[in-house]
Symmetry: C2
Subunit: 330 residues, 2 copies
């Protein structure tokens, strides 16, 4: 089976050449990237659907999606909705991707809010952080659903049986946290999930849990803080080492180890996160994605299709959430 | 002048010996630690006020403070309220410290909520993060006040003229963020502060701004995520280096540089954060504080008294906030 991956060629900070190069690199016998973008893209022999508008990174999400139905972003999303592609990848405006996906692909039955599931490479193996930034404001029942979606992701994509779920908060005790996390804690505890309580930012990278549930605001803060701290720390270490001959020699010797570590922790390794809770599969890549990151995001997208993530979510959410929650609202 | 520092000898995860040792280390001609704790503390010649109860880390804040007026924590806080000490330091239950401070020391006129100001050692010098965890739930006007309090702290303690203030959010654009940050952004923009817009977790450690304003939940998540990421990353690097002879030799050579870096980024360096917005000075140290951290927290406390942080806050907040905000509520 060949997975058809709609790729928004205009998303991303590094320009369309980088996206096209990434798509070309990911193209394989079982992966067919389809580029959505303007004429003259230099599509390197890949399938190309011409589009006529562009949504910028700082445009308001809902308005831009409504105003620009012929943008590369909206057309790529619609390709999944219309059955012309199996999954869509964009490194563009996250809010616009969410809005376009809600409008055209629509939510799975019973789902309140889609959430972004991002894979974090921890010392104990990969963890799923959900929501990594789709919804800046959330209610407790959204966090419960993120727990269910994260668990399905962990089982299906990462192959973890009965994943342990924890809630990101500011203290391990059940009563520590915001009104939101205190209420979400109770819902998670009463659920069928293997919920092990709260966790804190200080242990995320140690491998706090298989699934870390957060509202999209603090989840996004945690994710970006991890990335920034890794980058700053390695930069500072380089600076310290360059300040002495001994350090320079040491730096030369540790280079392979430092490189392994950096590639292990590099967000580009996973390329992006899934936007889960929709009737079709959507992968959101970092705005700053390199061609390597784009290629990995496209491969991640294909894996999701092969593993039937959407179908599994539909079954699991239908069984576990459907009957207990009020119907989703538009 | 000798600064009298009330020290809660029972606060902290490492036991009273560690606190007492830290207090003894900080004791100097201009710093007089006063230990609050049970008989038989082994006070190493320091002043000692006997107390008869203890508040544990996981006790509910308000209830424990009301139920245990003779606890080391409450008695140490009351010493400041009663004028028997100039400042209080505790590594104990943060919620209980907040509750005891609100009850006995009380808020400065016009202040809605006290906030924890934590110093983060960035690559461009120290930044103040406020609120680093006093209030899990916040309103936009609280964030505005945190901005003012952080600016006073930055000027008085860190010596930064006209500090630049930014708001922690999940995108740099004004319209990106939660309902809370979007509204707080508007208030900060309209204020007399040198507000430079939103910032993100990925640049905190690079030195995003002199003052980073956050609600206590995401501020605490960011702070703990930085600490945890630094620890995990250095641990992973050590593991990588130990796996080969070349790595081991390199590790030996880079040890001084790595140690400088670790001590620069070590949260123990600052020892704790100020709880600002009260009629007296309160320093909250990490629960896991070592004797070094406790000694540094006591020195930080003394610096705050010498610089008249409370008096400056009162003046500045009176001038900048007092007339514009509704009266504080109990």
């Amino acid at each position: 089976m060949t997975v058809r991956v709609a790729v928004d060629a205009l998303g991303g900070d590094l320009g369309p050449e980088e996206i096209v190069a990434g798509a070309a690199a990911a193209s394989a016998s079982d992966i067919e990237p389809i580029l959505f973008g303007p004429r003259g893209l230099g599509a390197l022999g890949l399938r190309h659907v011409e589009t006529f508008e562009s949504i910028e990174m700082d445009e308001p999400a809902v308005e831009s999606v409504r105003a620009k139905p012929d943008s590369s972003l909206v057309r790529a999303v619609r390709a999944v909705a219309d059955g012309d592609a199996d999954v869509v990848v964009s490194a563009g405006n996250t809010g616009a991707m969410l809005a376009a996906s809600l409008l055209h692909i629509r939510r799975l039955s019973g789902v309140h809010r889609p959430g972004i599931a991002a894979v974090i490479p921890t010392r104990r193996g990969p963890s799923v952080l959900i929501d990594a930034g789709a919804n800046a404001d959330a209610r407790p029942e959204h966090l419960l659903q993120f727990g269910h979606m994260g668990a399905v992701f962990s089982e299906e994509i990462l192959g973890i049986a009965e994943p342990e779920v924890r809630l990101l908060s500011i203290g391990e005790e059940a009563e520590k946290g915001s009104q939101l996390t205190i209420e979400a804690h109770e819902l998670l505890l009463a659920s069928s999930l293997r919920f092990a309580g709260n966790t804190e930012g200080r242990v995320i990278l140690e491998g706090a849990a298989d699934v870390v549930v957060a509202d999209g605001f603090s989840g996004n803060v945690a994710l970006k803080t991890i990335e920034g701290t890794v980058r700053s720390l390695l930069g500072s270490l380089r600076g310290e080492l360059d300040s002495s001959l001994r350090g320079k020699l040491g730096g030369l010797l540790i280079r392979p180890a430092a490189r392994r570590l950096r590639s292990h922790l590099d967000p580009d390794t996973y390329g992006g996160g899934y936007l889960l809770g929709l009737r079709g599969l959507v992968v959101i890549a970092h705005g700053s994605s390199s061609r390597v990151a784009i290629a990995n995001a496209i491969r991640l997208a294909a894996i999701g299709v092969e593993h039937g993530v959407v179908e599994h979510l539909q079954q699991q959410l239908g069984a576990q959430i459907g009957q207990r929650q009020e119907p989703a609202q538009g």
